[in-house]
């Protein structure tokens, strides 16, 4: 299940921010490791909602620092 989410998130990261899928591993920080800026994080949140049906409010988005954080949030909030 979380592998599906990781793969889906990797697709989004590649499309939006040019991150190679192999680099989208749970321990990676969006800003520190993957060079994803704040506007791109907003775009990623929109795509997460499109793909997984999980909306990420701004205050929650601010707490998502790593790919693993995003996977956990999507897993916990998926209907």
């Amino acid at each position: 299940m979380s592998e599906d989410i990781q793969a889906g998130l990797a697709e989004i990261l590649e499309e939006v921010a040019g991150v190679a899928p192999a680099d989208a591993t749970p321990e990676k920080s969006f800003t520190e490791d993957l060079d994803v800026d704040s506007l791109s994080m907003v775009e990623i949140a929109t795509e997460v909602e499109n793909k997984f049906g999980v909306a990420i409010p701004d205050d929650e988005l601010a707490n998502i620092k790593t790919v693993g954080d995003a996977i956990t949030y999507i897993t916990n909030n998926r209907g």
Binding site: G18, L39, E43
Partner: protein
């Protein structure tokens, strides 16, 4: 003349309906090829004017994919043209302090495709789906900002907006920055990419566009009796300007000197040009004074001439009045279409190449010159390019709002 007044052009770039770079564009221009075609998309069916001059090369394919998706098409073309100019100038390898590098890049309309595209998203999917890149992609300083970022310019990034004079206004602004010693190298130009139903409908509603839909390549016909409006084009052009002493010291290739500029406003009507081209003539005279030249020095004019019934005759009167009847006039929009905010930059590139190569491109489709006295009196190059001994040339640019810019270039 003080040293600061000697401003030279050391880099040229362009992406246009005739080619993806300067060389291919210039070759297509001299060969008489047209960049105009008829739109075949479904939406065009009810439009009176269905012609467009599309880019010869997709700019998105020349830029990194992730970077391209965050740039409006007007920014993409700006970056492509600026990159060519910058690389060809060698200024990036000359050790110039980034705080002494400036950018001036104009656009007439800005990020129209983003504005209209994101409005569709808003209407169809709601506010939460609107892209976070909407504003930086639609703002009219977007092309200038994208170019500034691309070359690492920290000496100021500016974006003149004066409709179809924007590209020429950028060049004039760059000249001033160098003369006032605000920068050592200035990357200037203009960009436009607004082929979309709304601008097409708006220009058509003004009766400004050609409806010669069955003959795309013959539709843009400046100074011809049968002209009936302009053809909307897209693209960008860029120039690298620097002071002559610095350019020569680093062994740069000098394509031409930017000898002077003149800017006026018609003070007549928001969109209609003064019928005798009063403001346009004043701009040309002001540019000559600025360059310290006389009408006899000017051998060639790249006219703004968009192929509208009123504009072309007004400009012919202005050229004749300010310069006389000896100048070799050409109207390259006959092949490129009208690139709006990029037009002045692209036509400055053509003016510089005419001086450098000593050849004036022909005005296509000028089969039957207008009966207007000034059009009849002027020597408008047609049918084929003409070899000539040129030492100085003028590029005219005018924009809705009554903006008039004339630039004077001289041989290196």
């Amino acid at each position: 003349m003080s040293t600061n007044d000697d401003v030279v052009v050391t880099g040229l770039g362009a992406t246009t309906p005739l080619g993806g770079d300067v060389t291919s564009t210039w070759e297509a221009l001299l060969a008489g090829r047209s960049g105009v075609s008829r739109i075949t998309d479904d939406w065009i069916a009810e439009f009176p004017a269905q012609l467009v001059a599309r880019l010869a090369a997709d700019p998105a394919e020349q830029i990194d994919r992730v970077r391209a998706r965050r740039l409006d098409r007007s920014q993409q073309v700006a970056v492509v043209a600026a990159d060519e100019a910058w690389r060809s100038s060698g200024a990036g390898d000359a050790g110039v302090d980034p705080e002494r590098i400036a950018v001036v890049f104009g656009t007439g309309i800005g990020g129209a495709l983003t504005l209209l595209g994101q409005d569709d998203v808003l209407e169809e999917k709601g506010p939460k789906r609107v892209s976070p890149f909407t504003i930086p992609m639609l703002m009219p300083n977007g092309p200038a900002a994208a170019v500034g970022l691309a070359v690492g310019a920290k000496g100021g990034v500016h974006a003149p907006v004066s409709a179809c004079a924007s590209g020429a206004e950028a060049i004039r602004w760059g000249l001033d920055l160098l003369r006032f010693d605000r920068a050592d190298v200035v990357l200037v130009g203009g960009a436009e990419a607004c082929v979309h139903p709304l601008p097409m409908a708006g220009f058509a509603a003004m009766r400004a566009m050609s409806t010669r839909n069955d003959e795309p390549e013959r539709a843009s016909r400046p100074f011809d009796k049968g002209r009936d409006g302009f053809v909307l084009g897209e693209g960008a052009a860029a120039l690298v300007l620097e002071r002559g002493d610095a350019a020569r010291a680093r062994g740069a290739t000098i394509h031409a000197r930017l000898a002077g500029a003149g800017a006026t406003a018609d003070g007549y009507d928001l969109v209609a040009p003064h019928p005798e081209g009063e403001g346009a003539g004043r701009a040309i005279r002001a540019a000559l004074r600025d360059a310290g030249l006389t009408p006899a020095d000017i051998g060639h004019v790249n006219a703004h001439a968009t192929s509208t019934p009123v504009g072309d005759t007004a400009e012919a009167a202005a050229i004749r009045g300010a310069l006389g009847e000896h100048v070799l006039v050409t109207a390259t929009k006959s092949q490129t279409g009208h690139l709006l905010g990029a037009a002045g930059a692209l036509e400055s590139v053509f003016t510089i190449l005419a001086l450098r190569e000593q050849i004036v491109p022909a005005t296509a489709n000028l089969d039957d010159p207008d009966d207007d006295a000034a059009v009849q009196a002027l020597d408008i190059v047609r049918r084929e390019p003409r070899r000539a001994q040129l030492t100085a040339a003028v590029n005219d640019s005018f924009g809705f709002g009554g903006h008039n810019i004339a630039l004077v270039f001289t041989t290196a």
